[in-house]
């Protein structure tokens, strides 16, 4: 009799435990901007929605969380609320995420674009520079004034990589190309971004690109009749004629993979730096203005990046002084790329120090 009771209690407990285990996994997201920015945070949110569709999860998000003391509180709250996986999507969240990860060892943290990891903290980022190389190829072929305008946010390695990759790719097809850079010291300020675009166009740029989050530069391009590229998401609705293509971030697969790994217990702390090949960096469909031969060339650049025959930072590479820093046959390694702080030849101006 007692054996029966014990076994039925045991079975009941197992069933309950199984019931709890199969309850929805809670996943939290922390965004640095509004999801309506139509850029960086917007794309992360799109991938969150894709995650919800693909897996049995319950997601929640907090947007416009300032980097700094407040971030830690928000991340901690998500952890305390029972989220099993938390994605913090801006490098400024690095130390707050690390601190919270220490206090919540059972929660799995994923930090975008950072470099610190721990047992329960992974990092991930995308090789946006691969996308920039494709943009550079298109820009190099389509510019008539041989001037490309670059609206840049802050002089961090990621932004500098983008500038360099684009310059190298553009000059490969058009050695006379110059890239002019304006630093707006913000990720998101349409007024300033638009002003910078105007200044660059006034100075002769007929293709502009940006490493800031709003569609304002493209709107200016559209109004002025020049070309541009969308950033982080497809901005064609803002500039139907001007947008040649856009780099579109796609975190879908990464988010689904990581949450699945958390669910089936195979999650471990890793560093991911994926590119076009893994689908993290994608390019929007070409705008009508891109002629077929340019499309073909861009496609070939893309394909060669994917099959490994071309690396956006393969030699020969000269710096602004004209010195060869990377010889033919060599490639700048990931370690160097991660902290890139110098311009290649063809970029006008100095990096703000």
């Amino acid at each position: 009799m007692i054996k029966k009771i014990i076994s039925s209690v045991a079975i009941a407990t197992c069933l309950t435990a199984a019931g709890i285990a199969s309850a929805e996994t809670k996943v939290g997201f922390v965004y640095v901007g509004p999801i309506g920015d139509h850029g960086w945070s917007y794309q992360h949110n799109q991938s969150r929605l894709a995650l919800e569709k693909a897996l049995d999860v319950k997601t929640s998000y907090v947007e416009s969380v300032p980097e700094g003391a407040d971030a830690q509180r928000v991340i901690r709250q998500l952890a305390a609320d029972g989220n099993e996986v938390i994605f913090t999507t801006s490098f400024g969240y690095m130390n707050p995420t690390l601190k919270v990860a220490k206090r919540f060892p059972k929660v799995k943290f994923e930090h975008a674009t950072g470099y610190k990891r721990s047992k329960n903290l992974s990092t991930y980022s995308a090789r946006f520079y691969e996308g920039r190389a494709v943009l550079g190829a298109i820009a190099g072929k389509m510019t008539k004034t041989n001037t490309i305008g670059y609206i840049a946010s802050f002089p961090i390695p990621e932004v500098i990589r983008g500038i360099n990759a684009m310059t190298l790719a553009a000059r490969k097809v058009n050695p006379d190309v110059k890239v002019k850079v304006v630093w707006v010291n913000t990720w998101f300020d349409p007024g300033k971004e638009g002003d910078a675009a105007k200044a660059l166009i006034d100075q002769g740029a007929d293709v502009i690109t940006q490493h800031t989050d709003s569609p304002a530069p493209l709107q200016v391009a559209e109004k002025r009749g020049v070309y541009g590229f969308g950033q982080a998401s497809n901005m064609k609705s803002f500039a139907p004629k001007a947008q040649l293509t856009a780099i579109v971030n796609n975190w879908d697969k990464y988010y689904i993979d990581r949450v699945k790994a958390a669910q089936d217990g195979s999650w471990a702390s890793i560093d991911t730096w994926a590119g076009i090949k893994d689908g993290m960096v994608t390019l929007a469909p070409y705008g009508d203005a891109v002629p077929q031969d340019v499309r073909d060339y861009a496609d070939s650049v893309k394909a060669s990046i994917v099959d490994g025959s071309f690396h956006p930072f393969q030699g020969p590479i000269k710096n602004q002084k004209g010195e060869v820093v990377t010889k033919e046959g060599e490639t700048i390694g990931d370690g160097e790329l991660a902290k890139m702080g110098w311009y290649v030849e063809g970029v006008d101006g100095k990096i703000p120090k």
Partner: protein
């Protein structure tokens, strides 16, 4: 017949305390209307805003962490506001304090010792005073309006921090990211409760409240401030030097803001970042007014406003309410307070009595 406002013979003492309460009630009522219009249950929204954030020990500790800079700056600003000196640039002074304090922490990066933290805080005060001193100088020497100069300098300060964090303050081992080194343990404010972020700054905030009260009610300077604010002609007649008051109040509020900045970098942040304040210098202006420009009031209003920030985050997480609701709430609170204050000096006359 619309109610008329009749000036009272003497200001009503009871209304001084009742008007903030009235303002808070009116704000809550308006918030309820707002939530209904947004299609959110007012009960759950108010709960998320005001109850949930402080329903745990950790929540209370976070409340104090958030309120600390608001209180410190608010107490100091209220002195200046009483005297009619409008320091709108506390945000910039806070940033300078963060720069000075942070640079000190980084300078002593490899050393240990008990002197480091007091040095950081003192340098923070110096930084803030320096920045506010510019405002005082421009006003007393050139008659330049302090509202505008202090505000312009705030923008300059933010850009200066940005410049420094991309340059000399940057962590050399940090992959060229614009962040400074993490401060060593002897440069971090001690934590008061293990497991929380409650740090020494909270104690400093309480001390600031006490000092502010003493200054205001027990010193000649405090008396001068009150007179110059309420009756400037009388003050000048009595020989109080407006120039001296301007300098002192700006230096005090600048120093306090600088202190708050140093506390933020060596407390909850633990390093220097391109953004060390989500607008504390401006929020402290609201805190000062809602606290009726009195140190004890500022203590309460600082906690209230900190709660509204925390509540905004909670409401976002739990109910998907946009963060903007916090700003609306704070604006409404200030509006209603300014309106309710009228009842201190005037009374409502509803009937058609003959005056």
């Amino acid at each position: 017949m619309l109610p008329r406002l009749i000036k009272r013979q003497t200001p009503s003492a009871s209304m001084v305390y009742l008007s903030p309460v009235l303002a808070l009630l009116l704000t809550l009522a308006a918030s309820i209307v707002l939530f209904l219009m947004m299609g959110v249950s007012p009960a759950s929204a108010l709960h998320a805003f005001f109850v949930e954030p402080i329903s745990s020990g950790y929540g209370l500790s976070e409340l104090m962490v958030k309120a600390t800079p608001l209180i410190i700056i608010g107490v100091a600003l209220s002195l200046g506001f009483r005297a009619g000196v409008w320091n709108i640039g506390a945000e910039g002074q806070l940033i300078l304090g963060g720069i000075f304090g942070g640079a000190t922490a980084l300078f002593f990066y490899e050393k240990t010792g008990f002197y480091i933290i007091p040095l950081i805080l003192i340098m923070g005060i110096v930084g803030g005073m320096l920045w506010a001193g510019i405002v005082a100088f421009l006003k007393t020497r050139f008659n330049a309006n302090e509202i505008l100069t202090s505000l312009m300098l705030s923008y300059v300060a933010a850009l200066l921090l940005n410049l420094l964090i991309h340059g000399p303050l940057k962590d050399p081992d940090g992959f060229n990211f614009p962040e400074s080194r993490l401060f060593s343990d002897s440069a971090l404010l001690p934590i008061l409760y293990d497991g929380t972020r409650l740090h020494l700054g909270a104690v400093i905030a309480l001390i600031a409240v006490g000092l502010g009260w003493i200054l205001l009610s027990r010193t000649l300077l405090g008396y001068q401030i009150k007179v110059i604010g309420d009756a400037p002609a009388a003050g000048e007649h009595a020989g109080f030097s407006p120039s001296k008051i301007i300098w002192i109040t700006l230096l005090i509020s600048g120093g306090a803001a600088g202190l708050a900045g140093a506390i933020e970098v060596s407390g909850p942040i633990g390093q220097v970042l391109p953004n060390i304040s989500p607008g504390y210098g401006f929020a402290a202006i609201i805190v000062a007014y809602v606290g009726r420009l009195h140190p004890f009031g500022v203590l309460l209003s600082g906690l209230l406003l900190a709660l509204s920030y925390l509540g905004g985050e909670t409401a976002q997480i739990k109910l998907n309410l946009p963060v903007a609701v916090t700003g609306v709430f704070q604006g409404l609170l200030l509006f209603f307070l300014l309106a309710s204050d009228v009842l201190i000096h005037y009374r409502l006359q509803l009937s058609k009595e003959v005056v």
